[in-house]
């Protein structure tokens, strides 16, 4: 059953119900995901985003409007992702 429909029926459930859908979204190659800018709406593969990088942080910007969509603290173990102006993430 569609998770949203199930939620409508049952009041609410918990995040376990997301396992299948999130696995389908994140289980593949992450740079193939399409990031949609929450500011201007540009949709592009993560691989095509504009990235400013130093020793510990990668700032992921929209290639069109340059708003920061994500910030990845890749030197941390495990890494940490801060979400900013990311409107949508969908399978590539």
């Amino acid at each position: 059953m569609d998770p949203h429909r199930r939620a409508a029926h049952a009041g609410h459930v918990d995040g376990n119900v997301l396992a299948g859908a999130l696995g389908r979204l994140f289980g593949g190659e992450p740079t193939e995901l399409i990031a949609v800018c929450g500011s201007c709406g540009t949709a592009a593969r993560v691989a095509e985003a504009r990235v400013e990088i130093d020793d510990s942080v990668a700032i992921v910007r929209c290639r069109t409007c340059t708003r920061t969509m994500l910030t990845l603290m890749f030197a941390e173990e495990p890494p940490r992702l801060v979400v900013s102006s990311l409107g949508e993430l969908r399978g590539g």
């Binding site: 396992a19 696995g23 193939e32 691989a47 095509e48 890749f74």
Partner: protein, 240 residues
């Protein structure tokens, strides 16, 4: 869901000088799952005081097996590349994470003509793609445009020279100094040179453009300008 990726130990097997500023490192990674042509790895170095630095390097090799080839161009005042180009020796260990990337890769099943365009060390993943074509024994039409400062700055120079014998059309562009007898014009890659070197719009090629950010932006912009489909222009920017 895939398990989180972890670092693997890489044993340096060979270190070969490629240019005055670059070296090709052959490393053995036990358990390496193989990689597609065009993929890269993250390399992590740890100093004695625990300080760690991570950089991404393209692989010049692809396919099955646990032996990989990295080609590293020295970034002046860099933290990682001078060590890899000047100091690291066979027997030393590094840490690698990969194979990484699923966008800037060539798959044998893609039937489109392929146009490879490299600026400087951007040749590394393109060399993996060209070699994969040779190993696949496909007659798929391939061309390469390789822009370098001078012949001696060309990583994989000998490999690229032999690509012509495998049916890949190679065009060189020299930005500072050309070999004696070369007929072209020395200087920054020009729009006309680019347009003449690549497959036509009617051929509907897939482009792989790799190099410094400014180079890639220029090339991709020009390709779109002359009518190529942006969806078929794959780019990888090295910064700089």
């Amino acid at each position: 869901m895939v398990a989180p990726r972890t670092w693997s130990v890489a044993h340096v097997a060979e270190a070969t000088t490629a240019t005055p500023h670059a070296r090709i490192l052959t490393v053995d990674v036990p358990g390496w799952p193989g990689n597609l042509p065009g993929q890269h790895v993250d390399v992590r170095l740890t100093a004695e005081d625990g300080y760690q630095a991570v950089r991404s390097y393209s692989l010049g090799s692809s396919g099955p097996g646990e032996r990989l080839e990295l080609a590293v161009d020295e970034v002046p005042d860099g933290e990682v590349s001078p060590y890899l180009v000047r100091d690291v020796q066979p027997g030393d260990q590094l840490e690698v994470l990969g194979p990484l990337g699923g966008y800037f890769v060539w798959r044998e099943s893609d039937p489109a003509p392929v146009q490879l365009i490299a600026g400087g060390s951007g040749i590394v993943p393109l060399r993996a793609i060209a070699r994969a074509r040779a190993e696949a024994r496909t007659k798929q039409p391939f061309r390469l445009l390789y822009s370098v400062k001078s012949a001696e700055d060309a990583i994989y120079r000998d490999d690229v020279t032999t690509l012509g014998e495998q049916g890949i059309g190679v065009t060189w562009a020299y930005t500072r100094e050309a070999p004696t007898g070369w007929g072209g014009k020395v200087g920054r890659l020009m729009a006309e040179t680019l347009a003449e070197a690549v497959w036509s719009v009617a051929d509907a090629p897939t482009f792989y453009v790799c190099g410094p950010t400014g180079f890639v932006e220029f090339v991709a912009g020009q390709l779109v300008h002359i009518g190529h489909d942006p969806a078929h222009i794959k780019t990888e920017r090295f910064g700089g």
